[in-house]
Each structure stands twice: as structure tokens, then as C-alpha cells.
């Protein structure tokens, strides 16, 4: 379970101008649910997720992962997390297997347990053929699979993805989607940010709409459409972030 409570964060931008990235954002992502964060570019999605990983420190407010305060004990909190970051790269001189192995070891797995975990995730993501190739020259979909595998190899209770479907084709998106659904059914908590409405509509149990560093609205996709009295989530989204008066309450 991931809880974000009244997060505030501002940066010193160009010419010492204060840029407010998060302005009192609060939400909860429950276990056994896929929670989607929707928001226009610059709404504060990545800042919020980075605060969750403990990369950034919030000015005020708190984030907890399974009840562990991120600011107080970031390493323990991160151990409960699987992360698919905003920008992901691969170690191009390692094979896919070695990379997954590397992250598994960082999460403290070893011996046969580690070996079995790696084999399981490789089989799950249907990447047996890729496993022993160096990752240099992998396609976008293959890269996504490797990143997904290394984030999930230790079977984290909570899984955070920052725009995972960027640049993926339909097939890869489906693999990702199926995997997330399977993961949810096992009772894990999944939080992911996206721009793609169909995907959010198809996959998410709950949607959080963020605008100007604040929660603009939340609910199931259907509830949001009702709230904005629009038939399509896309129209609902535009309407909800366009006029946050009345809706935010």
C-alpha cells in the first residue's frame, strides 16, 4: 500500500523563480488494485513518484510505503518497491540475465532462491530467447521487458511505473498489461502514471487526476466520466483538469 499525504515540493527554477511542482498532493494506492496517475505534462507526476523512491525530499507532507516513512528510512521503504523509472537505461555490456541477476542481488536474493526467481520472471515475460544476449541493440519492447523483469524479480509488494508504455507497440503493451493484471490479482499494489487514456481506462481500478501539483479528481474511470458528465475518459480528463473549481472538492 502506498500512501501520499499532503506533499509539497518546490524548486528554484531559472532566475531564482520558485516553481511549485507539488502543492498538497494526497492519495492512496491500495493493495490488489491498479491505480493510475493521469495528468498533463508538468503536472508533478514524476516529481511525486521520485519522492516515493526517496530521490527527492518533500518540503512538507509525507509518503509511506507499507507504513514505512520514505523520508525516515528510504532503504527499507525501497526494499518494498519495484520501480520502473521515468528514464530507464540498460547496462549495455551485460546480458539481460546478468542485469536481472544484478538487481536481484541488490534486493538481497542469493543462491537457488535467486536463480529460481530469475528463471520464473524470464519465463513469465516470455523472454527466454533474449536472456543471454547482451542488451546493446535491444528494441524498445525488449528493453521494456528487461526493465520490467529487473523491477519485479524480487516480487515487490508495491510496484511503481512511470509512463511504462512510452514507445511500445501493441504487442509489448499487451504483455505489460497482462503482467500488471496478473500481479494485481496476486494482491500487489500497482501505481502507474500514463498519458494514454485507453490504457488507463482498460487497466486501472482507480484513477487519480493530478493538475498543478494537486489532486484534481479521483475515482474509477466510470465515476470520473460521470463526474464530468462526459462519455469518454479523455473528455472527462480535459474537463476535470481545465476547471478544478467544484471538482476538486
Amino acid at each position: 500500500m502506498i500512501e501520499v499525504n499532503n506533499l509539497h515540493k518546490s524548486f528554484l527554477g531559472a532566475k531564482k523563480k520558485q516553481v511549485i511542482a507539488l502543492n498538497g498532493l494526497s492519495f492512496t494506492a491500495k493493495d490488489g488494485e491498479i491505480t493510475g496517475i493521469l495528468g498533463p505534462n508538468g503536472a508533478g507526476k514524476t516529481t511525486c513518484l521520485r519522492t516515493l523512491y526517496g530521490l527527492l525530499k518533500a518540503d512538507s507532507g509525507s509518503a509511506t510505503i507499507d507504513g514505512i516513512q520514505v523520508t525516515k528510512s528510504p532503504i527499507e521503504a525501497r526494499a518494498k518497491l519495484g520501480i520502473f523509472p521515468d528514464k530507464f537505461g540498460l547496462y549495455e555490456r551485460l546480458t539481460a540475465y546478468e542485469q536481472i541477476d544484478y538487481f536481484a542481488s541488490i534486493h538481497g536474493l542469493q543462491g537457488t532462491v535467486k536463480h529460481q526467481a530469475i528463471e520464473a520472471i524470464i519465463k513469465d515475460l516470455e523472454m527466454e530467447e533474449l536472456a543471454h544476449r547482451k542488451t546493446q541493440g535491444f528494441s524498445q519492447g525488449q528493453r521494456m521487458k528487461v526493465t520490467l523483469a529487473q523491477a519485479l524479480v524480487h516480487q515487490p509488494q508495491n510496484f511503481v511505473l512511470d509512463e511504462p508504455t512510452r514507445g511500445l507497440d501493441v504487442m509489448s503493451t499487451r504483455v505489460l498489461r497482462n503482467h500488471l493484471a496478473k500481479f494485481r490479482d496476486k494482491g500487489h499494489c500497482i501505481l502507474f502514471s500514463s498519458h494514454v487514456m485507453q490504457e488507463v481506462a482498460a487497466l486501472c481500478d482507480r484513477v487519480i487526476i493530478v493538475a498543478n501539483g494537486k489532486l484534481a479528481a479521483q475515482g474509477t474511470p466510470a465515476e470520473l466520466c460521470d463526474l464530468a458528465s462526459e462519455a469518454l475518459l479523455e473528455d472527462a480528463f480535459v474537463k476535470l483538469i481545465g476547471s478544478d473549481e467544484g471538482v476538486a472538492a
Partner: protein, 387 residues
């Protein structure tokens, strides 16, 4: 421990699989012995041999005996110069001007003024000019001595005191130029060999977007930095070892006895040098990681780190110009090691207190760099620079 092991294994895999960067790092070590061999051979040749010198003589016919003596000592008029080196000596243009009244003055016993004209600041001309002057002086002295003898005077009367030089330098001090070069070179090797790995594993990883992912993992930044440091400094130590081993092999081909010097690099000395440079390798890699982790891009890291390489090159050279070295120089990294190497090559017994001192200071500074860097990696500034 599992984490550190995994981090370390991964760093080594990446470092050793980047064959090209590794090759570049090791060329430094490969080139050292070749350079030392070639340089010392040419230096020995210059010090021992008396190659022919060609002079632009005006008034050759006024002093035939002087010219004859010069010729006997491999100094010839420019008219005799072989075609292939003609340009060189014409350009050097050492002029000897013998006055018309040479024979006349000689007969009358008056002082004859001969002009030797050349660019005295040119280093390549130092040896020829010295030899020309020596020959002319010898010629003049022998005539002077004969004049005294003819007058029934012992020529020794002109030399009431004779100085007898007794050089207290150890026999191997004469190999100074080799040791100086080698000392500089191994220090450079310590700084150069680990360089590409240090930049690649810090600024390189940031640019390939893998650093952010690593920083999100449940692993302390201290472990990350320590693993990267271990890897880079291992490569640096390999570089230093290779330089020393290859040099000790190649030095055996140089016959230093020709210039009355002895220099050998035996196993014990190689081991001592490796031990001496071990902390420096760590220090160099820590410094490089420190700088390149905080650079905004790979390119910035490269240009800043290349400034650091100046350190091992400048400090030993600067030390040569300080005659009264303050005590603290013995303790600082690079300068301490450089001074100890000087002593070692001169055959002076090793000052173990200074050895331990400089090693401790170097290790201490390295540890400080690692700690500061691992704190820095937690700061938001570094994270924000990721995107």
C-alpha cells in the same frame, strides 16, 4: 555484503568487457618501457659520443695549426659537411671568426681575440660549443705552457691550487634521468589507467540513464561509490604494475655502465613501488569519480578529469625546483610518493615514517572523498541533474 559483491562484480564485468577503453588505458603502460628505452639510449649516445661538429670558419688560412687541432677532435669547417646534414649545420650556424693578424699577434705574444658566434640559448648547441671552447682553450694553454718552458719557467706556477672533485653521490644517482622519467611515468600511469573506467561508471552511467535506477534501489550510496572505486583503482593498479614490470624488463637492455651509472629495477623494488603507489591509485580514482559524478555530462566529466591528470605531472616537476623542501611535502599525496621514489632511485634508505605517513594521509583523503561523494549522491541536486 551480497549487495556489495553484486555491485562489484557488475562493475568489473562492465570494465573488462569494454575492450577498447581497456586497451587505451593499458597503452600508457605499454608505451612506458619503449619510451624509457629510446630516451635513455639517445641520452647515453649524446653523453658518450663526440659526433662531428661543423663550423662556419672565417679566416681559416690565418691559423692552420688551430684548424688542424680542431679537425683532429672531430670539429670541421662547414665546407666539409656531408650533404645529408648540411641543412642542419647551416641552420645552426656556429661561426668562428679568426682575425687577419692571428700569425702576427702570435709572434708578438699579444692577446688574440677570436670570435665564436652562435645562439648560446639553444640547448642542442650546448655540447658543441663546450667542445669547441675546450679545444681552443687547450690549444692556447699548450702554446702558453711552451712559452713558459722556453723562458725556463715551470708552467705549473700558473696553477697554485688544484681542485680534486670527490662526488659523494651514490653510484646509481647518475641514472637520475631514468629514475626521474620512471617516477613521473608511474605516477601518470596511476592516474591515467583507471581514468576511462572512472568516467564511464559515473558520468557514463548517468548519461545512459542507469544511474537513476540504481539510486532508487535499496542500497546505500556508500556501497555504490565503494564498488565503483574498487573497480577503477584495480584497473589503475594493473596499469601501474604492468608499467613497472615492462620497464624493469626493458631497462635491462640499456647499458648504463657507459655513462658510469647503475640502475636496476629488481623484484623487491617493483614490489615496493607497487606498495607505494597502491594508495595513490585509490586516491586518483576517488578524485576522478568525485569530479565526474558531479559533472553534468560525459563531456564535462572528461574535460574536468583531464585537469586532474595535470596533478601527477606538475607536482614532481615543481618539487625539483624547490631546494629547501618543507616537511609537510613528505606527507601529501603525490608529492610524498614522488619524494620517496626519488630517494629509492638514488639508493638512499627508505624513510619508513614518511612512507607510512604519506600512505595514511592519502588513504584518509580517499576515504573523505568517498564519504563526501556518497552524501552528495543523496542530495537532490545530483538527482535533478539526472533529467
Amino acid at each position: 555484503m551480497i549487495q556489495f559483491k553484486a555491485l562489484l562484480i557488475k562493475e568489473f564485468k562492465e570494465a573488462f568487457r569494454d575492450k577498447r577503453a581497456l586497451m587505451v588505458a593499458m597503452t600508457m603502460a605499454m608505451l612506458a618501457p619503449v619510451m624509457i628505452l629510446v630516451l635513455s639510449k639517445t641520452m647515453i649516445k649524446e653523453m658518450v659520443a663526440t659526433p662531428p661538429i661543423y663550423l662556419n670558419v672565417t679566416g681559416e688560412s690565418f691559423a692552420p695549426k688551430l684548424i688542424k687541432q680542431l679537425k683532429q677532435n672531430n670539429i670541421y669547417p662547414l665546407s666539409d659537411v656531408p650533404e645529408d646534414i648540411k641543412n642542419l649545420w647551416t641552420e645552426r650556424n656556429i661561426e668562428l671568426i679568426i682575425p687577419e693578424n692571428f700569425a702576427e699577434y702570435m709572434e708578438e705574444g699579444r692577446v688574440i681575440t677570436i670570435n665564436l658566434r652562435a645562439d648560446f640559448s639553444e640547448k642542442a648547441l650546448n655540447a658543441p660549443i663546450r667542445r669547441i671552447k675546450n679545444q681552443i682553450n687547450q690549444y692556447a694553454q699548450s702554446i702558453g705552457a711552451k712559452r713558459l718552458i722556453v723562458r725556463g719557467i715551470d708552467p705549473r706556477i700558473l696553477r697554485p691550487i688544484q681542485i680534486n672533485d670527490q662526488d659523494t653521490a651514490q653510484p646509481s644517482s647518475n641514472a637520475m634521468f631514468i629514475s626521474l622519467m620512471l617516477g613521473l611515468y608511474v605516477l601518470m600511469a596511476a592516474f591515467m589507467s583507471g581514468l576511462s573506467v572512472a568516467i564511464d561508471s559515473s558520468a557514463g552511467e548517468r548519461e545512459r540513464n542507469v544511474l537513476e535506477m540504481l539510486l532508487c534501489q535499496p542500497v546505500s550510496t556508500f556501497k555504490i561509490v565503494a564498488a565503483k572505486l574498487c573497480c577503477a583503482s584495480t584497473i589503475s593498479i594493473i596499469g601501474v604494475t604492468l608499467t613497472l614490470v615492462l620497464t624493469s624488463f626493458s631497462v635491462s637492455f640499456v647499458d648504463l655502465t657507459k655513462i658510469g651509472a647503475t640502475f636496476n629495477l629488481d623484484l623487491l623494488m617493483v614490489l615496493f613501488l607497487i606498495l607505494l603507489l597502491l594508495p595513490i591509485s585509490f586516491f586518483a580514482s576517488a578524485l576522478q569519480l568525485f569530479v565526474s559524478f558531479q559533472a553534468k555530462s560525459f563531456k564535462e566529466a572528461q574535460s574536468t578529469v583531464s585537469m586532474i591528470i595535470m596533478l601527477p605531472a606538475m607536482i614532481p616537476v615543481a618539487l625539483m625546483f624547490i631546494d629547501d623542501k618543507p616537511q609537510w611535502l613528505d606527507w601529501l599525496p603525490v608529492s610524498g610518493q614522488s619524494l620517496l621514489m626519488d630517494d629509492l632511485f638514488k639508493g638512499i634508505p627508505i624513510n619508513w615514517a614518511a612512507f607510512t605517513g604519506t600512505a595514511l594521509v592519502t588513504v584518509g583523503l580517499t576515504a573523505a572523498l568517498v564519504i563526501i561523494l556518497s552524501l552528495r549522491l543523496k542530495s537532490e541536486k545530483v538527482v535533478l541533474a539526472l533529467s
